[in-house]
């Protein structure tokens, strides 16, 4: 089982440039049902994508998300549109009624994301990202840029603000035979579509997810809010957490726009303390995430 995606997930791609096409090819090969792509002016033409059984299928282009939804019943979109137009692409998907919008694009201006959040109010779409690796439910679908083969189907949910650190985590889990239900990268920006709490709620509801790894970072208070949620609602599922940036200096942006300690707030130390107090298995070394989960599951 999994969260957010299932066998009925029908994906379109917005922003099929070089990177977009590369990743859509990978997703399709993994088994994700990609049903179309939006490229204004290309309506009526198709492009080839590989299937898991090494065949090829012709995927149609559409002029707009609305047309793509009308013709394909797509319910999910993956966005690679450059930062200059990413916010517009998200709003187009939301306007067309796409239920799950995953924005991979990095470098989206913060004010654009504020406008997107306001635009989404009262509508029935969920946004993951931007500036994120996307999500994967091993064996079901991969809607993102992560290397699919490191994952195994299983019972551990993974939610993370980071990209490669999520792969590191998954690598450790898989090496210990701990498969994953769904792995979600929520993105490293200050304003994102789905928070830790949003994703944890889904994991809590999913009967097949038995435990969760949460990979946090310095900056903001999303980890603290997640800790509150976990202590109140997730006592039945062990949560293992690592916070990156224990040695980061204050006031500097560590790659991710969200990873910045300001005014002494949002330090790793503070976050780790709060998480511990809320009954979460806090890991101090990033090398111990897998091991700690194995132990937590044995209890």
């Amino acid at each position: 089982m999994s969260i957010l995606v299932n066998r009925n997930t029908r994906v379109i791609c917005q922003g099929l440039g070089k990177a977009g096409l590369f990743h859509c090819t990978q997703c399709s090969e993994y088994g994700t049902n990609i049903v179309g792509a939006v490229k204004p002016g290309k309506n009526g033409t198709t492009f080839p994508l590989p299937t898991p059984d090494k065949k090829e299928k012709a995927v149609p282009y559409f002029n707009s998300v609305k047309e793509a939804v009308a013709k394909t019943e797509a319910n999910t979109s993956i966005i690679f549109v450059p930062a200059t137009g990413a916010a517009d692409a998200i709003m187009e998907a939301v306007d067309a009624g796409i239920a799950l919008v995953i924005c991979i694009t990095e470098g989206v201006p913060t004010l654009d994301m504020l406008r997107v959040k306001l635009f989404m109010q009262g509508k029935n779409s969920r946004l993951i990202g931007p500036n994120c690796p996307g999500l994967i439910s091993p064996g079901i679908a991969k809607i993102g840029i992560m290397p699919g083969y490191i994952h195994r189907p299983g019972k551990v949910g993974v939610v993370s603000r980071s990209g490669t650190l999520t792969y590191e985590t998954v690598g450790q889990l898989t090496a210990l035979n701990l498969g994953q239900s769904t792995c979600v990268g929520i993105g490293g920006d200050p304003i994102i579509g789905s928070s830790f709490v949003d994703i944890l709620q889904e994991f809590q509801k999913d009967p097949e997810t038995e435990a969760v790894v949460m990979i946090g970072e310095i900056g903001g208070d999303a980890e603290e809010k997640a800790a509150q949620f976990i202590s109140q609602n997730m006592r039945n599922k062990p949560v293992v957490s690592f916070i990156a940036g224990q040695t980061a200096p204050p006031g500097r942006r560590m790659g991710h726009a969200g990873a910045i300690i300001s005014g002494g707030k949002g330090t790793a130390k503070e976050k780790m303390k709060t998480l511990q107090e809320c009954g979460i298995h806090v890991v101090e070394s990033p090398a111990d995430i897998g091991k700690t989960m194995a132990k937590a599951l044995k209890k």
Binding site: P133, P147, Y167, Q246, T247
Partner: protein, 388 residues
């Protein structure tokens, strides 16, 4: 991205904010002329640097004659300014702002930031001045807040409500409301991440104005603001950091002796963390990005070793989009091309890991490979210690 006080004041005045009268000067002679032009008995000479704490660091001085403006500016411009935000080496001062001095009756604080949960927030306090951070910590109730909808900006009633709470008189409301709205408008129009007026003052003769101003831009919005480039002053930024940015590498210099090269910001931060846990000190944060290319690897090595404190280097790559064999070839090329003498520990995981490891081991170069992050950190820390 940070800009100077004089630039921030110019932007705010475009939006109707009353700012203290001032003239920017590039030399002592220009400062002297500025004093004369202002035609005031007393002026303040303020060093234009991005760092805060200028006053306490000796970068803000009162002068009473054109001649004094000249000599004081000459001193300020002649040496790096050291404040609690600059580090002991200080930052160069290339410009001073000569302002007409005012007698301050009361100091207020006005500032707009992005709050991750509330969105845009305008903050104000009747206890402005240099100790505002302490006020925020010790008595947060003294900081008033209004949430601003990015579509409508700060609404007049919100500004009025805040101004009244701050204790402004009826005849002062218009100018205070205009200032607050100006902050909001500038914030949105220029894609800022911070706009701050501290202090915002009432002078003894009843004038209301901004004495200091600070603006930060959202780097992500640079594509729609060519003006960022015009306002950019990189003289306070570490040279290696500027160089890294040109190659799309994210580099931050730190104080340790172990250089690191990692793909991905989260993994890069964790690599720093694990080096510290192994008893070492990271010399830098360096994220080569998820889709790192070979030529970036070489440039990354050059940047790392440009720091003379680096004694050993750790490369930690989790290949996803980036393929380990290509990275390994990049490492081998870089070591050969540069004649790299530093002990080097490489940890590769993920896509094409075996091929990558083979390239490293068959290169004939002295490259130590590691399995897992903990092993890698221990090896590089041991290598750095052995060198001492």
């Amino acid at each position: 991205m940070k800009i100077h006080e004089y630039q921030a004041k110019k932007i705010l005045s475009e939006f109707g904010v009353a700012v203290q009268e001032g003239i920017v000067a590039n030399s002592a002679a220009e400062a002297e002329a500025a004093f004369t032009k202002l035609g005031v008995p007393t002026a303040v000479v303020k060093a234009q640097v991005h760092a805060g704490g200028r006053g306490k660091g000796g970068g803000v001085k009162l002068v009473k004659s054109a001649q004094e403006a000249n000599s004081v500016s000459a001193t300020i411009l002649s040496r790096p300014l050291v404040t609690h935000q600059t580090g002991p080496q200080g930052v160069p001062v290339h410009k001073v702002l000569v302002c007409a001095a005012v007698d301050i009756a009361k100091e207020y604080y006005l500032g707009m930031v992005l709050d991750r949960s509330l969105g845009l927030v305008l903050m104000a306090s009747a206890e402005g001045g240099v100790e505002i951070e302490e006020v925020a910590q010790k008595s947060p109730e003294k900081i008033l807040k209004e949430t601003v909808d990015v579509r409508y900006g700060l609404l007049p009633f919100q500004a009025r409500r805040m101004a009244m709470q701050l204790g402004f008189a009826e005849n002062e409301l218009d100018i205070v409301v205009k200032t607050m709205q100006g902050i909001t408008q500038a914030f949105i129009a220029y894609d800022c991440s911070l706009v701050e007026i501290n202090p915002f003052v009432r002078t003894k003769d009843g004038k209301i104005m901004a004495i200091d101003a600070k603006i930060l831009f959202d780097d992500n919005a640079d594509f729609r603001h060519p003006v960022y480039e015009e306002l950019r002053d990189n003289s306070e930024v570490n040279e290696a950091e500027i160089r890294a940015a040109k190659s799309k590498l994210s580099y931050i210099k730190l104080d340790g002796n172990i250089g690191c090269m990692v793909n991905g910001a989260g993994l890069a931060m964790s690599t720093m963390d694990i080096i510290k846990r192994a008893g070492g000190e990271p010399a830098n944060f360096l994220d080569v990005g998820g889709g790192v290319q070979q030529d970036q690897v070489i440039e990354a090595f050059r940047i790392i070793v440009s720091d003379p404190h680096v004694e050993a280097i750790l490369v930690n790559i989790f290949g996803g989009i980036a393929k380990c064999d290509l990275i390994a070839q990049g490492i081998v090329n870089a070591v050969k091309e540069m004649g790299l003498k530093h002990p080097l520990v490489v940890r590769l995981e993920g896509t094409n890991m075996e091929m990558g490891m083979k390239i490293l081991s068959s290169s004939g170069l002295k490259i130590d490979t590691a399995t897992g992050m903990a092993d890698a950190a221990q090896k590089v820390v041991a290598a750095a210690k052995a060198k001492k």
